[in-house]
Symmetry: C2
Subunit: 241 residues, 2 copies
């Protein structure tokens, strides 16, 4: 039987939750729903009444600037539990949208709070998850502020591939990542045209291929160096490198 939280904090501290705590969390969710691709789910300023658990698919958090160009703040993959903001913050400061079709389970605010009050250790783990988010955000700041276009794209794929693998996706060879080059551009603060050129370079240099929604890291050591990637900030229980 497939459980909702099967991937929650997998390889990232999940072990610190007891079976009872996990079960309580599991029970708190409403029945999973399917969301269509490329749909905005929450808009900046919305009052949010639920936290969301992503079972399948890819989602983005982002904000559009005055000219309609979009900046991603992060990508959500299966196993991410988000909008924990719903609890103390109440309204959101950015948009959330699906990229692919997604399956999500939500937990209403009140029920979430009751859960945390009953299981303080669960609250600790939510806080921990928030810190992991903040650590990822810092890496994105570093990427945008200090890396060249090639470095940015390299780093983006290093991080995303590592996260996907951490939740048990992908085989030895390749990892599925069903997003397009425009999404990558919006994550890396580049234009889609330039991302295209950068991807060609990375391919020609034998570091990475990204084609039809699949990432294949050809030379991990060199790619990591190119993207100044060091996976410590992901706090993986079992790092890849």
């Amino acid at each position: 039987m497939t459980t909702i939280t099967a991937r929650f904090l997998l390889n990232r501290g999940r072990d610190r939750l007891s079976a009872e705590e996990l079960d309580a969390l599991e029970q708190a969710f409403d029945a999973p729903k399917t969301l269509p691709p490329r749909r905005t789910i929450i808009e900046r300023g919305d009052e949010i009444g639920v936290s969301t658990f992503l079972l399948e698919g890819v989602m983005s958090r982002h904000l559009d600037d005055q000219d309609g160009y979009r900046q991603l703040f992060g990508l959500h993959i299966a196993g991410d539990f988000f909008d924990l903001h719903a609890l103390p913050l109440r309204h959101l400061d950015h948009d959330v949208a699906t990229i692919t079709e997604c399956v999500v389970a939500t937990i209403p605010r009140d029920r979430g709070i009751a859960l945390l009050e009953r299981y303080p250790n669960l609250a600790m783990m939510m806080w921990y998850a928030t810190m992991l988010d903040a650590a990822m955000h810092r890496e994105w700041i570093f990427r945008l502020g200090r890396l060249s276009a090639i470095g940015r794209v390299a780093q983006f794929f290093c991080e995303t591939e590592a996260r996907l693998r951490a939740t048990g996706l992908g085989d030895d060879d390749a990892v599925p990542l069903p997003i397009n080059q425009t999404d990558v551009a919006e994550a890396c603060g580049l234009t889609p045209v330039h991302v295209n050129r950068v991807l060609r370079t990375l391919r020609e240099e034998g570091l990475l291929t990204f084609r039809s929604g699949t990432v294949r890291i050809e030379d991990r050591a060199r790619l990591y160096r190119r993207g100044e990637f060091d996976d410590r900030y992901l706090y993986l229980d079992k790092p890849a490198a």
Copy 2:
């Protein structure tokens, strides 16, 4: 009498703490210490045994790239309580340093955990503070990914000025911010030379003057527009605009 936590979450949810909780927090700190300017306090990978409260001064969190160029992730000002990471994360993924001379009070890990277990509401507020950090990080990502040099510098000063005012610093006219142009460059992902040119432009356009450690916003409405700044993400109890 000056208390350590006088500025903690001032104008940012402080009201949600009871007098007893604040007092318990207050008692938990070791005696304040003074740190010299431009000194690295914690380095990436260090095991951190304490959380730190900043009473006076300015500190930075940052990471240096392969060529020694630095990217700031955030500026700490009086009233910030940080390295809450110490509790669940144990080791740090970036550096922390003083910019000016600073006065700090620390709280050892074990004592902090005991405190949170006894006062769940205090734990909630720490979590809340972590979320505010994450919200600020997102704004920095947006700044670096989508704004021009002028927009970035404008936005940086909008945010920093708003935060300083929120903790009660500055008068109607100007706000003290004792950092230099290189610090601004490291925050905005620009070169110091270019920051200098941008500051001249902002001055000439009558939007902002930043000189000898003092920020003076000349035309708030226009500056906010230039920096695409919207202070909602700061979750201020009393927004300025």
